[in-house]
Amino acid sequence: MKKDKNKISQSAQSVSSEKINVTKEMFVSIKEGSLDAEAIKRPSLSYWKDAARRFTKNPIAIIATVLLAIIIIFAIFAPILSPFTYDENNWAISNQSPSVEHPFGTDNLGRDLWVRCWEGARVSLTIGVLVAFVNATIGILYGGISGFVGKALDNVMMRICEVVGAVPQMLWVTILVIILRPGFMPIVIALSATGWIGMARLFRGQVFQIKELEFVMASKSLGTGSIWIIFKHLVPNAMSPIITSMAFAIPGAIFAEAFLSYIGLGLPLPLASWGNLASNGANVFLTYPYQLIYPSLLICVTMLCFTLIGDALRDALDPRMRT
């Protein structure tokens, strides 16, 4: 087993499998003061930048984002560029199948469905995003105060949540819309009235967890006050699940609006929303299927995109990257 080229000393054997020729010059001491012992070689990445990097590396997330972007672009520009408006009645061309002039066909009043679908997109998307934001804001405030103060106040606030949340959300929404009369703002208010409960619970849980962490204690011992701790430490660290939750909340709101339209409490005609378009289309599905298919397709694709983005966000924001 002695393959080395060096002489073997008397009281030991050495086992070497190196092919490099070891010479006397190599036995020179090297100064380890030149050690870059504390240097960090990789470039600096903040948590958000790293999350963005992970998100963009996910092919499904990219596809979903692009699709969503396309839908949004159409929602903005299609009604502007079209020669038709959403409420232009024209009995002569009612219930026409899709054609070059009317890519989505026309409805029973001769209105162009292409324009109505994209007008509807504006409405549905706005409702979705608005409701998600309002829910998140209320949820963060409510859950944050409850979690941070804790003890008796937290008990009371959470019990209120449970009582309100015990009634199915759709029941609250239906009652509120009936009281406030169907319309854009009433729907937003109704959907926000109880939608914040989930966010509040989520944020409260995060706050509970984070306020016990040592960096919060360290901040307290530096003499900082509650407001500073909440905004500097709790909110940035608790935001990730909220962001993911919002991504999932948007399709929920869109679907809820569609549901309201089905039970006749949606936006009043001639306003277009995906919900009332689908609802009208469902009535004539057997004769004019396209009137249901296009709005439904848009609802499904949009919801799918948000859900996929939400999934990808959750993975990207996951602090798995502890090395």
């Binding site: 504390e38 960090i40 600096s44 960096f215 360290a218 530096l222 003499g223 500097k232």
Partner: protein, 322 residues
């Protein structure tokens, strides 16, 4: 003992753990610490040393008792005193991963105390943070990095730099090296010792690694289930322990020396540490003590001075050891 900097009298901290149950994590602790000295606090799990550290620095509010700093009683209900506390006492935490906010850069973490008080300009804060980084053996390029990019030992040093930012007189070190590898522990220990010399800091060093505690401490306090068992200089307590628990504890610690390990007689304690919620009646150590007498099971022993500066809470302290 040099000028007494901190005096703790009959400090207790209770937690509510159910309807009528209380956990007395810190039970009637009293001690003094001189300026520039190190008080080592040792004990096993449930002894309350971490809770004691956090109570001293006002993360927890004491249930009863008094803390005096430079002769001034710290009445933490007084807002002014609470604010002043941060300038006098700082803490180094055990977990190097959880003690730094992952969303802030190292520079921001160190400068947080100044930023909150709106001291200095942004650039000045950055420069001063870099100064502190250099004191702890890191350098400027680290100031814009995030905690997850550093090793455990480096993070502890960042924590030390943060604590130094307030120019404290007392540093409470809560197991600062337990989570670090052996070859890194010495780096952090040396840094702490150098800082103590250069800034005349006073340390309260809480740890379960007794050899490190003995190495750095002037005095040692031994805790068990929230109570103080023994207090004295580190030489006295280590070589001449008078409390049966201290004796058993020190003999149970494995020493990195095979000859010593094989030749010495380890005192084996029976059973395990009782739950801190249901502490034994009488002396808390009575359930495991090999010298237990009847009185130990019914009456809690008072702390007596068995030798100058050497205190023990036991009905029958092992004075033969002195």
């Amino acid at each position: 003992m040099s000028e007494v900097l901190m005096k703790v009298s009959h400090l207790s901290k209770e937690f509510k753990v159910g309807r009528k149950k209380y956990l007395k994590a810190v039970d009637d602790i009293s001690f003094k610490v001189g300026r520039g000295e190190t008080l080592g606090i040792v004990g096993e799990s449930g002894c309350g040393k971490t809770t004691l550290g956090r109570t001293l620095i006002n993360i927890y509010t004491p249930t009863s008792g008094e803390i005096e700093l430079s002769g001034q009683v710290l009445d933490i209900k007084n807002k002014k005193i609470r604010k002043m506390l941060a300038d006098k006492m700082q803490m180094i935490f055990q977990d190097p991963f959880a003690s730094l906010n992952p969303r802030m850069t190292v520079g921001e973490i160190i400068a947080e105390g100044w930023a909150y008080r709106r001291l200095y300009s942004k650039k000045e804060r950055h420069d001063k943070a870099v100064e502190l980084l250099e004191i702890v053996g890191l350098n400027e390029e680290h100031a814009n990095r995030f905690p997850h990019e550093f090793s455990g030992g480096q993070r502890q040093r960042i924590g030390i730099a943060r604590a130094l930012s307030m120019n404290p007189e007392v540093m409470i070190c809560d197991e600062p090296i337990s989570a670090l590898d052996v070859s890194i522990q010495a780096q952090v220990m040396n840094l702490l010792i150098d800082l103590q010399k250069s800034k005349n800091l006073t340390y309260i060093f809480i740890a379960h690694d007794i050899s490190m505690v003995r190495y750095i401490s002037t005095n040692i306090m031994v805790m068990y289930l929230g109570s103080q068992m023994e207090f004295g200089t580190s030489e006295e307590v280590y070589y001449h322990p008078v409390h049966p628990y201290t004796q058993a504890l020190f003999s149970a610690i494995p020493v990195p020396d095979p000859d010593t390990e094989k030749s010495r007689e380890s005192i084996m304690l029976e059973g395990e540490i009782p739950s801190p919620i249901n502490t034994p009646k009488g002396c808390k150590f009575s359930t495991r003590c090999q010298y237990v007498h009847e009185i130990c099971k019914t009456e809690r022993p008072e702390t007596k001075e068995v030798a100058p500066g050497h205190f023990c809470a036991c009905h029958f302290p092992l004075v033969d050891n002195l």
